[in-house]
């Protein structure tokens, strides 16, 4: 990527700020149909809020975002007033041209720097780290670093009766930190969902590999149970009677077609519909919480729709409806960035937009000024909601939050013959009105954690802070300093709680912005990717109403390189992060002449990639690569 834009690249058709999933898809789609795309990001890493980090990377990210919670310094009767950290003034007049008006963006997504009470949360957006306790296991080893300032220390004293199993120490986690790929967002891919369809259709799937989620589990009566959802599961299930098996299979087969019965339940809760089917408690629980992933008040239509979606996704790639990308979800935006780069898109990391230049009469953005004072003209701009200041947002959209937790554990929540299971666990609300928690447990063969550990993501809609929402579930299901009598449960080696804005609550229309500036909402709390992909497609069609969204990319051998046009594929520049300035300049300047080079470079990189894949082959079994039809 470039850090300073070459002169000949200062005219763009589309500028994209930040590179979340939706933004990356828009970038790839536009580049694919011939738009000149410039992709800027203030951060030094790809994928924004969708990023994956190594363990050490995550630690720095935490440091960057940690709430310095100095509320404990407050004395009785005192109140804290927090001051904004952003020093850029909201408006500035640019003297270059008179018709143009400049809008400044905060230089980074706003992070709240205040009290971490739920009321404060309402006003913040972006990422909000609340808790990052280092657990007892690490402390007993005596190798844990001092907790960072402001972090609450776990109160429990180190227990002396340590299990026989040698625990993995914090130092080992640090040492093997590169083996971790920890996503900020926790999602899965529905095997017939919009993301998988798009990856296949656009041929972007060639840039990634996937693994099946192998089990759907649920937490019930204090135990983790397997949810039988495919034919093979139902057959093998030991907890269902044969009659239940028949009833479940019959329900699953029959519910694919609409019946008159369900119309009678329109508007009434799905739970009532299920009760009416006389399925019994077991099956009702599985269907409501694990298959439909609904709550007790979800209406029947919605419950049936999600049940059907779940079922339609079964069996395409395996016995569960879900896939997970090797090396984490952060791979997906990167794949689209790569596609964008192949079709000439340019990437600049650590590079932000200072202001937009807006033509007053047309209310269209004509150009942007970057943080280095360069003027780059453009026809369209895509930004993430976090960059838009509150005053320009549509009124009365209260920000919703997601509560997230990331755990590194030493065992699976449900041990089985294979220790390489990828599991989705649904945890219904423990009390009415509480959040239902989604837990994704990843094994080392997903290339997201080091051998001997599991990476666990917990997600729910925030009711209060992430710690308050999720730690009770963690305490019940795992062995932590707070939990008692949890023999046989996996131990938590490290954990992190944080809140992030829920993109599905963000209004992307109605901003007080020029008509050619489009807003993406950032990650939502849903399990699938429908939200982001739908948004990307809508933006693409606004920018280019005539063009096809992500048509299949041609095979490399079908691309003609020796034409007279100047734009050869620029290789995979996006891959080289933090490239030196001079180099970026040089390459940009030599671009007109050095077309052949670009092509060669790409080939070379592809070869390297193949070698790398072979290497991975040895380690990873049962990888999935997406094919358009099996």
């Amino acid at each position: 990527g470039y850090t300073t834009l070459p002169a000949n690249r200062r005219r763009q058709e589309l500028i994209i700020k930040s590179d979340g999933l939706a933004e990356s898809v828009v970038a790839a789609a536009c580049a694919r149909v011939g738009q000149r795309v410039l992709h800027l990001d203030r951060k030094s890493y790809y994928a924004g809020s969708w990023a994956s980090f190594t363990f050490n990377g995550l630690l720095s990210w935490i440091q960057e975002h940690t709430l310095h919670d100095w509320s404990n310094l407050l004395e009785d009767g005192e109140e804290m007033i927090c001051l904004s950290n952003t020093n850029s003034a909201p408006f500035k007049t640019d003297k270059q041209t008179e018709e143009e008006q400049v809008e400044a963006f905060p230089s980074r997504p706003q992070v709240s720097w205040g009290d971490r009470g739920p009321h404060q949360l309402q006003k913040t957006c972006g990422l909000n780290i609340l808790h990052c306790p280092i657990t007892q296991a690490i402390q007993t080893e005596g190798e844990g670093p001092e907790p960072e300032s402001g972090q609450p220390r776990p109160s429990a004293a180190p227990s002396q009766s340590e299990p026989v199993k040698k625990k993995i120490s914090y130092a080992q986690l640090l040492k093997e930190g590169r083996r971790f790929n920890i996503d900020l967002v926790s999602k899965l891919m529905y095997s017939r969902g919009s993301l998988v369809d798009l990856l296949i259709k656009s041929n972007v799937s060639r840039y990634a590999e996937f693994k099946n989620v192998t089990r759907i589990l649920t937490y019930r009566h204090g135990n983790v149970e397997q949810v039988p959802c495919s034919r093979a599961d139902v057959f093998a299930s030991r907890q269902l009677s044969v009659v239940e098996k028949r009833k479940l299979m019959r329900f699953l087969t029959s519910c694919l077609e609409e019946t008159q019965e369900e119309q009678a339940f329109a508007g009434r809760p799905y739970l009532e519909f299920l009760r009416d089917q006389q399925l019994g408690d077991n099956l009702q629980h599985f269907l409501l919480h694990s298959i439909a992933m609904a709550t007790e008040d979800t209406p029947t239509e919605e419950g049936l729709a999600s049940t059907r979606h779940f079922l339609r996704c079964l069996g395409r790639y395996g016995n569960t409806p879900f896939l997970f990308p090797l090396y984490g979800l952060g791979e997906i935006p990167q794949c689209f960035c790569r596609m964008c780069a192949v079709f000439g898109g340019i990437y600049c990391l650590r590079h932000s937009v200072h202001s937009l230049l807006v033509h007053k009469d047309t209310n269209r953005c004509k150009a942007v000024i970057d943080s280095r004072g360069q003027r780059i003209s453009c026809s369209h701009v895509v930004v993430e909601d976090g960059y838009v200041e509150a005053a320009r947002k549509p009124t009365a959209t209260p920000t919703r939050f997601l509560s997230r937790a990331v755990l590194i554990t030493d065992g699976s929540v449900l041990s089985s013959e294979s220790d390489q299971q990828v599991s989705l666990v649904t945890v219904p609300p423990s009390e009415a009105g509480g959040p239902s928690v989604r837990l994704v447990e990843l094994c080392p063969s997903t290339m997201t954690c080091m051998p001997g550990t599991y990476l666990v993501h917990l997600t729910c809609q925030s009711v209060s802070s992430a710690y308050q929402d999720l730690s009770p579930v963690v305490t019940r299901m795992f062995r932590t300093p707070e939990s008692h009598d949890q023999e046989g449960r996996p131990s938590v080696l490290w954990c992190l709680y944080f809140n992030m804005a829920d993109g599905s609550a963000v209004e992307v229309e109605g901003h007080d912005l020029p008509s050619n500036v489009y807003v993406c909402s950032g990650p939502d709390g849903g399990l699938g990717h429908q939200h982001a992909i739908g948004q990307a497609e809508a933006i693409f069609h606004k920018i280019l109403p005539e063009d096809e969204f992500c048509p299949p990319a041609p095979n490399p051998e079908d691309i003609i390189y020796d034409g007279e046009t100047c734009t050869s594929p620029l290789g995979e520049e996006g891959e080289e992060r933090g490239e030196e300035e001079g180099e970026g300049e040089g390459e940009g300047a030599g671009e007109e002449e050095g077309e052949g080079e670009g092509g060669e470079k790409e080939e070379k990189e592809q070869e390297e990639e193949e070698e790398e894949e072979e290497e991975r082959d040895g380690e990873v079994q049962e990888k999935q690569s997406l094919k358009s039809e099996e």
Partner: protein
């Protein structure tokens, strides 16, 4: 448009592909011709090996080339050292692997692999087994691979229990798999035989005790294991009752041992001076070493089957030398030896008696009751309960209905007769494509029930009217019947097997659709035949009756034949013995 990546047009791509194909075809044809001419000249060299490899790797289904390759390899065996051969054959195996990737169901490749594996000086069976594992994990129903696996297992002595676990795994991942279920049915009797003797050691390679047919009754599965299998297979058919493979396996589990081979009946008639012998299964009496001993004297007799159609038949007849038993004041002792099976049956003909027999009846043999199983009643009863439970959930499932019928028959054929008939009715409705099959099966069961009733009543009258019979079976069991009533059914013919009713005197078959009387053949005692309202249309249809010497009464009213001109006189000519002819 400016900035777009240029892509070759589809026409360009097509053209390139076409050229590519043409080029390939040229190379292929040239190589093929070279191979053929080399083979004609009897050249078995490395180059030929190269050429065939080239061709087969793009088309592994070229049988001639595989043959040629084997010729070359056999030739090399005569000229090369063992170590070298080992290398050649190992290379052959990895070449075959690439062919299987090309077409995993290539007959030629799998056959050649079996051939190579068997000739390899130092075979690596573990590798072959893991190849099978890999192939079956990609396609668990590739029967070529299953075949090869069985061969590998046999050659390398893989423990039976390990193979059983393998089927566990495959059935667990997808139970719609005949191959896995079938493999199970061959493994279980080895691992858990029914006999009380301790199970055969698992480590024993199968070739030392070849897998016996699971039908052989000494190799049934022990009850404990059977119960586990019932549970497994019930899980399958409750999960998906429309999947046939599980039901077939269930039928096998419920299946009974084959009947013991024996002489089930010896009948002797003083008047006709002949002996009739019935066997438990169709045999060819002329070749199984059948010997008749009369009063201690072996007799030279000629055995004939009841009808010239049958080379194999359960019933055989022989005429005794004239005068040997005709004196009613003499007592005679007969023994029929089935030398091949070391079994025999005696029969005494007492003074003053015209006929005599000795037999095991169907009830004695529990012939129909145990049609399904040798299991204890309680086990079958609980199986019936599960199936009834499933039937309540899936009232129209044909597999379930059929299995219920079979279970009911095994438990109490007469007691469940009414339910059975009702289930058959449902079956014919839900599976109308097979209604004729169900009708025949139902006929069979009705006949069995009637036989049982007749035997309980200890009579020689068999009456089964108005039961919608479409076919006749178990006729060998009716050897001693003197009076049969088949009226008001749906029969279309009296088949050749009907000639087994050697004692028949009266046949009532009014109100059927009979158009063929083949089975009324050489019935020495037949006197009265009632065939009112049937479909006999030609004089030739009555031809078989000519062979029944005692026929006196014939009722043909309501048959098309009665419309024929001069029928009365023609019949009188054809059947001079008939005194009461009703037309």
């Amino acid at each position: 448009m400016h900035g777009r990546v240029k892509i070759k047009s589809t026409a360009q791509q097509e053209e390139e592909k076409r050229k590519e194909r043409e080029k390939k075809l040229k190379i292929y044809v040239a190589a093929r011709d070279a191979c053929f001419s080399k083979r004609r000249e009897g050249v078995w060299d490395d180059e030929a090996l190269q050429l065939t490899q080239q061709l087969l790797s793009s088309n592994p289904d070229f049988a001639t080339l595989w043959n040629y390759r084997r010729e070359i390899l056999l030739h090399l065996e005569t000229v090369r050292e063992e170590d070298e051969l080992q290398k050649i054959y190992e290379a052959e195996l990895s070449f075959l692997e690439s062919c299987l990737k090309m077409n995993p169901k290539s007959y030629g490749s799998w056959h050649h692999r079996g051939w190579v594996s068997a000739r390899l000086p130092r075979p690596d069976w573990a590798r072959e087994l893991s190849l099978c594992d890999r192939c079956l994990s990609l396609d668990d129903r590739n029967f070529h691979c299953w075949d090869y696996r069985r061969m590998v297992v046999k050659m390398s002595g893989v423990p039976v229990d390990q193979e059983l676990q393998f089927t566990d795994r495959l059935i667990g991942s997808n139970f719609s798999n005949y191959s896995s279920w079938h493999y199970r049915s061959t493994l279980l009797p080895l691992l858990h035989p029914e006999s009380p003797e301790p199970p055969s050691p698992c480590r024993q390679p199968p070739q030392s005790s070849p897998p016996p047919s699971p039908q052989t009754h000494s190799h049934r599965v022990c009850e404990e294991q059977l119960l586990k299998e019932y549970e497994l297979v019930q899980n399958a058919f409750f999960t998906d009752p429309n999947d046939q493979s599980a039901w077939f396996y269930y039928r096998w589990l419920l299946g009974r041992a084959e009947r013991e081979e024996m002489i089930s009946c010896v009948y002797v008639s003083r008047e006709e001076e002949r002996v009739v012998v019935a066997f438990s299964r169709p045999v060819n009496a002329q070749s199984v070493g059948l010997m008749l001993v009369l009063d201690g004297q072996p007799q030279r007799v000629e055995w004939r089957s009841v009808h010239p159609h049958f080379k194999h038949s359960p019933v055989w007849i022989c005429d005794l030398p004239p005068g040997t038993i005709s004196d009613i004041t003499n007592e005679h002792n007969l023994t029929v030896h089935w030398t091949e099976k070391h079994t025999h049956r005696d029969c005494a003909l007492y003074t003053g008696r015209n006929e005599s027999w000795c037999r095991d009846s169907a009830t004695d043999q529990e012939l129909f009751r145990s049609e399904l199983s040798v299991e204890k009643t309680s086990v079958l009863q609980s199986e019936l309960q599960s199936c009834n439970q499933l039937q309540e959930l899936e009232p129209l499932n044909k597999w379930c209905l059929l299995t219920i019928i079979l279970l009911m028959r095994a438990l109490d054929p007469l007691g469940y007769e009414k339910e059975t008939l009702a289930h058959f009715q449902t079956l014919k409705e839900v599976d109308s494509m097979r209604s004729a099959y169900y009708s025949d099966l139902c006929s069979k069961f009705m006949i069995e029930n009637t036989i049982l009733k007749m035997e309980y009543a200890e009579v020689r009258v068999f009456s089964i009217s108005d039961k919608k019979l479409t076919t006749l079976c178990h006729l060998d069991q009716l050897l001693l019947v003197t009076h049969i009533n088949l009226s008001s059914n749906l029969l279309q013919r009296l088949p050749p097997q009907f000639a087994m009713l050697q004692c028949l005197e009266v046949l009532e078959a009014d109100n059927n659709c009979i158009e063929n009387l083949e089975g009324l053949y050489h019935l020495p005692k037949l006197e009265e035949v009632y065939l009112k309202n049937n479909k006999i249309s030609k004089l030739a249809d009555l031809q078989p009756l000519v062979s029944c010497p005692k026929l006196k009464h014939l009722d043909l009213r309501g048959n098309p034949i009665t419309e024929t001109t001069n029928i009365q006189s023609e019949l009188a000519e054809l059947l001079p013995s008939v005194t009461d002819l009703l037309l």
